[in-house]
């Protein structure tokens, strides 16, 4: 018998009322009739699912909630109900995928009624519990079958972290020039740069020259200097800020003779370094000073044809450096090379100043021909604009 729309609505209200009173049987009878009449939204179906669950009829509850989700795939309570139902029958994976979807579909907590807020929080906890379970299982499994690939391949370990959602993928984001088809590597393997031996071996001598410069207290200037002719970029207050300052031995490809004269041993230690040499741009070689409590906000560099090298010289505890998903602590005398077009940041949470020697090298993957062409191309750009570039490492 076809009921009028109003009668169906009244019957649905009766069913909901019965459910609230805990009379599952009456609720089920009424709501089943509503569904037979053709439910227009998910509510009566979901209410029917609750009623069936109270009556212990799992199969009917599942059918009803599936019906609700067919009408409204992002219905929050229906997703949570389904997650609980799957968890109830021991299907962790299915449960986890419904909980996950519920967490994603949920509006911000402050827009939720209080009872749902708790429910969404519970779904979030279930998700992380399943994620931990998955991770434990997988790691145990890999330990068992280990062909020592796990320890020998840092990139496999990283792939695993990405798979488990513990790390995200970072891509190169150069601001000025993107060279195609290069591997996207955050920190390079030390073994790629045999010439780093010379630089590291000279750490004490370089530190001695740095100490003399610091004692004089001149020659350092803010690292980020504004250019009045260019749109001011958001540098989160770093522009002109003495918290992050530099003393240059080479700046944008030009030697700074008065500073080099004060650091002969540093200059000598860099003799074998494959500096990226591009007119008006690079290399820069500098002592970079980060004041106590200062933080260089996340940013990405200009071109991916060079790498940045750091030789840490003065490193109080509480200093850190992040490139992409890799966070490291600088160690005095241990150099590293990283791709500065991948988002990176630095901080000094100590109460003393941090100082590193910083310089630019060609990316090892670039052939001599390619380096020559990059050089030529930037010269071409300067010829085109007729003016030196606005450039700061």
């Amino acid at each position: 018998m076809q009921m009028s729309r109003n009668d169906v609505r009244a019957l649905a209200a009766t069913g909901l009322d019965a459910l609230r009173r805990g009379d599952a049987r009456r609720a089920r009878d009424a709501l089943e009739e509503v569904v037979r009449q053709g439910a227009l939204d998910a509510e009566p179906l979901l209410a029917l699912a609750y009623a069936c669950r109270l009556l212990g009829d799992t199969a009917a509850a599942m059918a009803a909630v599936d019906g609700a989700l067919a009408l409204e795939p992002r219905h929050l309570r229906a997703l949570l109900f389904k997650g609980d139902a799957m968890a109830g029958v021991g299907d962790d994976r299915a449960a986890s995928s419904y909980y996950q979807f519920a967490v994603q579909a949920a509006p911000p907590a402050e827009q939720l009624p209080p009872d749902l807020r708790g429910e969404v929080e519970r779904a979030r906890e279930m998700c992380s519990r399943y994620a931990r379970k998955f991770e434990d299982f997988l790691l145990a499994r890999l330990q068992g079958s280990n062909s020592d690939g796990n320890s020998s391949s840092a990139r496999f370990a990283q792939s695993l972290d990405i798979l488990l959602g513990k790390k995200q993928v970072y891509f190169q984001q150069p601001q000025a020039f993107y060279f195609a088809e290069l591997p996207q590597i955050q920190f390079y393997e030390r073994s790629v740069f045999p010439w780093m031996d010379d630089v590291e071996a000279a750490t004490d001598a370089i530190r001695g020259e740095l100490d003399a410069l610091l004692a004089e207290g001149t020659g350092f200037s803010p690292y980020v200097e504004g250019d009045p002719n260019r749109p001011r970029k958001e540098q989160s207050g770093m522009t002109g800020n003495p918290d992050w300052s530099a003393l240059y031995l080479w700046k944008n490809g030009r030697a700074v003779p008065e500073n080099i004269a004060r650091c002969p041993k540093t200059a000598a230690a860099l003799a074998r370094v494959p500096f990226s040499d591009v007119a008006n741009r690079s290399p820069s070689v500098l002592f970079s000073q980060l004041r106590p409590g200062a933080r260089i906000p996340p940013h990405s560099g200009l071109v991916n044809t060079r790498l940045i090298c750091h030789l840490p010289l003065i490193v109080p505890p509480g200093c850190g450096f992040r490139v992409g998903n890799d966070i490291r602590t600088p160690v005095v005398g241990r150099a590293w090379a990283f791709d500065d077009t991948i988002e990176h940041e630095a901080w000094n949470d100590s109460d003393r100043t941090r100082v590193i020697l910083l310089f630019e090298v060609w990316r090892p993957e670039l052939s001599e021909e390619e380096r020559g062409l990059v050089r030529a191309m930037f010269e071409g750009i300067d010829a085109y604009t007729g003016q030196p570039p606005s450039w700061s490492i």
Partner: protein, 425 residues
Amino acid sequence: MHSLAHTSPEIDALEAKAMLAAQAGREAEAVQLWNRILELAPNHTRTLNALGQRAFRQGDIPYARAAFQRIVEADGTVPQQWIQLAVACRRLNDEMAEERAIQGALRIDPRDLVALILRANLLDRQGKLHQAFQAHGAVAAVAPPMQQLPPDLRPAVTEAFAHLAKYNKDKGAFLDSYLDQFYPTFAGENLNRFRTSVDIMVGRKKRFDSQSLQYHYPNLAPIEFFDRGEFPWLDAVEQATHEIRDEFLEVLNTEEGFTPYISYPPGVPVNQFAELNNSPRWNAFHLFKLGQRVDANAARCPGTMAVLEHVPQPDQAGRTPAAMFSLLSPRTTIPAHVGVSNARLVTHLPLIVPENCYFRVGNDTRQWIPGKAWVFDDTIEHEARNESDKLRVVLIFDIWHPHLTPPERTMITALTAGLNAFEAG
């Protein structure tokens, strides 16, 4: 605004009266009242603004400029105050003052869209090509999507984009001829990725990254089509083209064993493949499917199976290798998509290729040539088109990414077994 400092009950009363007069259209009376306010408080910004705007509307630009100038001197904390001064200076052709006013607005808010538009416009008029490019770039960077823009700003933003495109085009042409003097020095060298980098810089090509849907392997280079030299075993595959094609034609005659290439289980969202889902327009005959040999089909293609034995097929149970004859029907397009994992690459050996068939990976669009294989990274966006009236057939199979070491491959195989065990448990 600091006009509060100039308020007094008397000024407030005058201002209220002036407003009523202006609203009622009694202009002369309003002006008289405003001038009276300025006698009492010469820097009363609201009054200066009312008089300046009125003068500007009536074409008395020198008066408007003087009023706007006094506002920024007395207050100057709001970009709009500087912007209206800049506009007045522009009407008077005083470029120096216009520039100062624009800078004034940008000092307060470096991302003020109107001020950025005015600056780009000024630099255009001054013929400062390269600075204008930077300025238009700032407009483009700051502007919200077109439909969210007030209609009166849309033409200026559209022009900024056009300006950028033109500048990049000219710059590209200049660099091409500039670099022409260097290329001959390196004749015979592979400079493709350098050329691509220039194309990307001047906007002739887009940048494409690897976007694995399921498993991303880090530190690998996003390469669209790989260099043939990385795969010495391809020679043997290509040499077997005739034999492989003959086996395929045998199979085709029987019409058995073909299944739609895309076949999602019911209930799974079908995304861009809605049209091809379960469709015979893109059919496959599988030799390996989801890591398993399809015995019934393999038995009918012994020559092809023998060739595949010498190929570095990946080993991920339940997932890969796959190897199949892929049949793309006439007038059929496989829409742009990305694959599941960059740990494996995909090889094509074209067998039957009518005219007007195309394959694009990232920036690189190629045509299949029977017997000429290639290897590409299917986690980079790619698509295929058969615009002919005939069937296109390619042998497709997965291989390990060549830059994975043997221990890495072993670990990936173990990882897959672990995933399968977890999902089974």
